[in-house]
Symmetry: C2
Subunit: 202 residues, 2 copies
């Protein structure tokens, strides 16, 4: 895999548009023969660094109304279940700390997708430890409680903070984003272009 061109998928669990992207990215990367790196980060600090303190979808209701309809349409087209969550954006911090531990684990991808489905198809509180343990279990993690505990260590918190700083440093300002080397693609609708770009790097 070391020589396969790599696609980095940068995502935030509170982000609506990251949900269909998270459902599609693994298969798309596999079909293209690309190594996929799951890169969780926190969008909140990135937006705060730009002077934005709430989701633009909340700040601008006309934009929010459109976004919900657009995501509903995108999911319907892709055959992905969707239910508008009663809370938005949800706190994705605990899940992101687990995700950073799981990015290279066999249970990682199923965990990521499980959290998104809990948020955007099942309308559940993704900051709830019992729910996260349950998703870990269903994703094949051998010891969900140990993972939860490790996710709360200073070391893990620092890793997520550094990864969020890396997102900022590399020009990321929204989620989902894709990086192929330093070439940035923003939005789930740029997945195809990111993959084409990565294939040309061969």
């Amino acid at each position: 895999m070391a020589s396969a061109p790599s696609l980095e998928f940068w995502f935030e669990f509170g982000s609506t548009y990251s949900y269909p992207a998270a459902e599609q990215v693994e298969r798309a990367a596999k079909e293209a023969g690309l190594a996929l790196a799951w890169r969780p980060f926190l969008l909140g600090p990135v937006l705060k660094g730009m002077g934005i303190n709430d989701s633009p979808f909340n700040v601008y209701p006309v934009k929010g109304r459109y976004m919900w309809r657009d995501v509903e349409r995108l999911c319907a087209r892709a055959g992905i279940p969707f239910r508008k969550p009663t809370v938005f954006p949800r706190n994705g911090l605990p899940a992101a700390r687990i995700a950073i531990l799981g990015a290279d684990e066999p249970w990682g991808p199923d965990f990521m997708r499980g959290v998104y489905r809990a948020n955007f198809a099942e309308d559940r509180d993704i900051s709830d430890a019992a729910l996260l343990a349950d998703i870990l279990r269903r994703s094949g993690a051998e010891d969900p409680d140990a993972v939860l505990q490790a996710s709360n260590t200073l070391e893990t918190k620092d890793r997520l903070r550094r990864q969020t700083e890396e997102a900022q440093a590399r020009g990321i300002f929204g989620a989902p984003s894709f990086l192929v080397g330093e070439e940035l693609f923003w939005g789930g609708d740029r997945l195809d272009q990111a993959i084409e770009h990565a294939k040309r790097q061969h």
Copy 2:
């Protein structure tokens, strides 16, 4: 054509992403058997109504840097010439007043595309009357000076103002946008979905 399902293309001459969309929309609508309505409006007043007083691409430099690269890539993929303009956003008001007169004229589509190319491929000042007269001439308008004069009447100014109010009233908050009935699609990358939606209305 009265019974053909209709695709409305809402655009602003200062908008970067409207440029490749304007280059592609007519052929795409024709291939799909859709009647196309060119709907110029002013994005400035719409954004002001949301409390936004400059292009978000200027307000957030990280977003602006990405946008220019993204538009460059989009144009390259589509084989459309692109040169980053030295002024952004340019004043599209005089061109929009002409466009509202030309939306149903034989010279309309070529005029729209000519203005976009002047802005985003030739780096020219699209508020310049001599340039606009030249684009009108090259687009086949019989009496460019008469069109310019008509574009400056109170009646035309009112038509553009009302069309901009209509954009707001129908939920438009950015450009380009597509409307199929009251179903809104925002962004050039939603053109295919708008067309699919329109075809299903048959």
